[in-house]
Symmetry: C2
Subunit: 473 residues, 2 copies
């Protein structure tokens, strides 16, 4: 028990087992009796609460309002937009019985709520004065996945879904990119994830969208995690649902639509980017507890001193956990590392005599002895340093796994031998995209706004786009 | 359109239609295509967000942590506690199909989550050091009701459910009453509802509980709304799920359990207690928007002055809505009344010249002309007055509909002729409770801690309890 973090598989030995060990040992999730459904335990849920707090404020600052739609979609409603239903019907859960009676029409548990919002929009949009409608919903969705992994792919997913309607195409496109930028900034600034943003190919875009923009993160093992998407729908759903409005000239028009969402999958990205063989590592800006205070010996003086420090830090807005349990100091240190508290403060009777305390950074494991009088000044500075270091470290690693291939032989060599993303020139033809997938299992990540500088890497014809490929979770 | 609040049915003519008119006109809810499922629109959801903000903080202050359990319960898990499944199975929605395949075991959408928590508790509780476990979850539950009404009875319900485990019976009982008190105080202090708290009878208690405590509100029409419950489970579920822990003497013990919950039904109680024929009336402490600013004429000077006042109020933490739309002043006044903003400020060009503004209280509709310079001082005072007035007004009305019956003839006369609650001495026998229900449709509300002062009102035998009866929503 002394070294609970020794029970974690090394991430360089078996990345998948390491991930499962970390989420379990850090008490982030537990499996339920039902396959594919997980319990988000209090410490994992506290991370989600931090994420919700920040994003919800950003959504409100950009004039979005929250609401709550039903969780069930009648089959006939799901069927209204053809591409959409084709994309989602194979992976939904169906309610067929209410109480002891069979239902007249089966209902799916929402896998996403476009059709529910459209059904409502049709009733409430009459005039240009009703636009833009900027709605968001925090809720649980269900997708009946065959293989599941905590946070990355599960049958029930906590997420937010924005749904907006606009009078013009320009406004709707602006909104699509505005929300993409909010996701990008949030992931860089709070989650310390060095993400790549771009546009999905026709093949990979959302079922029913005209354009899908994506935030792509790269995990420690070089594998991609799609970490948020923003969709421009044009007028497709609006036409399928017969949604119209009277413009300023009293003429009937069809509005333009967007939707955008991020999920608890971001917690998976956090873990697979920053954590290590000792357990979780959390960026300070999103860590529910910033500082863990540990008594090396539980004497009354030491505990009093730590309680005072905790109180001072709390006044400064820095959340703390004082571990005053009867466990050994070594056990408590290990536990603090597993839980990923950004800073650990260790205090023993002799330190107290010297008016000093030991500060341990979780990101680097560096120890530093500081004066107790300076704790309130030093901690906020160190938290900022940790936040920056985590981002820069992840950026450096990510950049070391970005490749560029000039021809298909080069592409295949990299794809086989080196984990990471490969940038190429691409003609835009789905046949080339399919060929890569069949030959290497790599899928397109996103088209990026860079000039092409050569022919298509696969077929050799004229290239239209710069695009990243990579394996994905 | 000028008088949108004239479209609301009078509450004294038809209370049910009045209620439906208010929730629709105030944009709190809309019906979805699916019977019994409602859309909580942004303004309605904003009220729920205010409720969540306050209660979540109170739960955290009392050391509860949030988590998220799955939404599906396998049939075999639901069946583990016999009384519980008998109570809930008739009203659950069943998922029988995942994707295109039938499920091996059908899953119900949680109607409440006791069995899910117990299944988890069994895995994580080992020692007395793990207790108490103080968990809460904010989520959606489903109960397949036949007849539904917005907020009061719907198939999908937003709520919170607390689930706690304790080493001793005393601690668990203390927790049951602690949470009941939090509900009571919240409803009195924030929702301005003069509630009665007490204990449910054996017949009316929660399926599987040993004791159920309740917060009973009385609506404007004298009908009861059960507005929050707190349950003491004893060891029933723990034994059914084989949950044990090692105590300090290393002996195996069974823990004691509680659960407690409140729902969006509280929004229904708010409406049916305070609102009137002009629309919604919201207590300031829970109103998402405290002050509505209306320009009597949309001149640049007037709008600038209102924007300044709004900014000053916002600095003071007072949420505002500045209605600068092109609608007529009369229409905006009516709309502000329908929406129930606690205070309306009206400003016209002449008022501005006189450096004055008109303040209208939503609760009393009283108008007062005040100096613009004093707005920041006056508004917080008036908001407090409105909060107090709403509580006192509701208390007075509620008290005017509290009756006491000494014998069964008296009881029946009141039950037939007077809406409200009737207090009686009761022997505790379910036969007497049933007789009342059969003769009068009234159901027991709660047993209150008052001394009996006569024989049972129904059978004339020795009484054990003072108890309230009343019709219920």
């Amino acid at each position: 028990m002394e070294n609970m973090n020794k029970e974690i598989t090394s991430r360089d030995v078996d990345f998948a087992s390491w991930y499962t060990d970390v989420v379990k040992k850090a008490d982030l999730v537990d499996y339920s009796s039902l396959k594919g459904s997980m319990i988000i335990r209090p410490y994992g849920y506290a991370i989600w609460e931090e994420i919700v707090k920040v994003l919800d404020q950003k959504f409100k600052e950009t004039n979005h309002v929250n609401l709550q739609m039903p969780m069930f979609i009648p089959e006939s409603l799901l069927n209204k937009e053809k591409e959409h239903v084709a994309g989602f019907a194979p992976e939904v859960a169906w309610v067929t019985q209410g109480g002891s009676e069979p239902l007249e029409e089966k209902l799916c548990v929402r896998p996403t709520s476009e059709v529910l919002f459209c059904d409502h929009f049709k009733k409430i949009i009459k005039s240009y004065r009703d636009l833009p409608l900027l709605y968001n919903q925090w809720c649980t969705i269900v997708r009946w996945e065959k293989t599941t992994r905590p946070f990355l792919r599960s049958r029930e997913i906590l997420w937010q879904e924005g749904h907006t309607m606009h009078a013009t195409k320009e406004e709707a496109l602006e909104e699509t990119l505005r929300m993409l930028k909010i996701y990008e900034d949030f992931q860089k600034d709070y989650l310390a994830l060095p993400v790549i943003v771009g546009k999905k190919t026709e093949k990979e875009k959302f079922a029913g969208a005209l354009e899908t923009y994506t935030v792509e993160a790269m995990m420690y093992d070089g594998v991609a995690l799609q970490n948020g998407t923003s969709h421009f729908f044009g007028q497709g759903f609006a036409k399928a649902f017969d949604i119209t409005f009277l413009d300023k000239n009293n003429e009937l028009q069809t509005p333009y639509q967007t939707s955008w969402g991020v999920t608890t999958r971001m917690i998976g990205a956090l873990i697979m980017t920053h954590s290590d063989d000792r357990g979780l590592v959390l960026p300070p800006k999103i860590a529910p507890i910033k500082v863990c205070l540990v008594a090396i010996k539980n004497t009354e003086e030491v505990l009093d001193a730590l309680a005072n420090i905790k109180e001072e830090l709390l006044k400064n807005g820095i959340t703390c956990f004082l571990d005053d349990s009867a466990k050994s100091a070594g056990y408590k240190f290990a536990e603090a590392e597993v839980k990923g508290y950004p800073i650990r403060l260790e205090l023993g009777p002799r330190d107290l005599e010297n008016k000093e305390i030991t500060l341990v950074r979780r990101d680097t494991l560096e120890k530093e002895v500081i004066s107790i009088a300076k704790v309130n000044k030093v901690i906020p500075e160190v938290l900022l340093k940790i936040q920056d270091n985590l981002y820069n470290r992840a950026l450096e690693r990510r950049n070391s796994m970005l490749y560029e291939a000039k021809n298909y032989q080069e592409f295949q060599e990299i794809a086989i031998n080196k984990p990471g993303f490969i940038k190429i020139n691409w003609c835009g033809d789905v046949a080339c995209e399919d060929k890569i997938k069949n030959d290497t299992t790599l899928k397109s990540r996103c088209i990026i706004p860079e000039e092409v500088d050569g022919p298509c890497c696969i077929c050799g014809k004229d290239a239209k786009y710069k695009i990243y490929f990579g394996k994905q979770y």
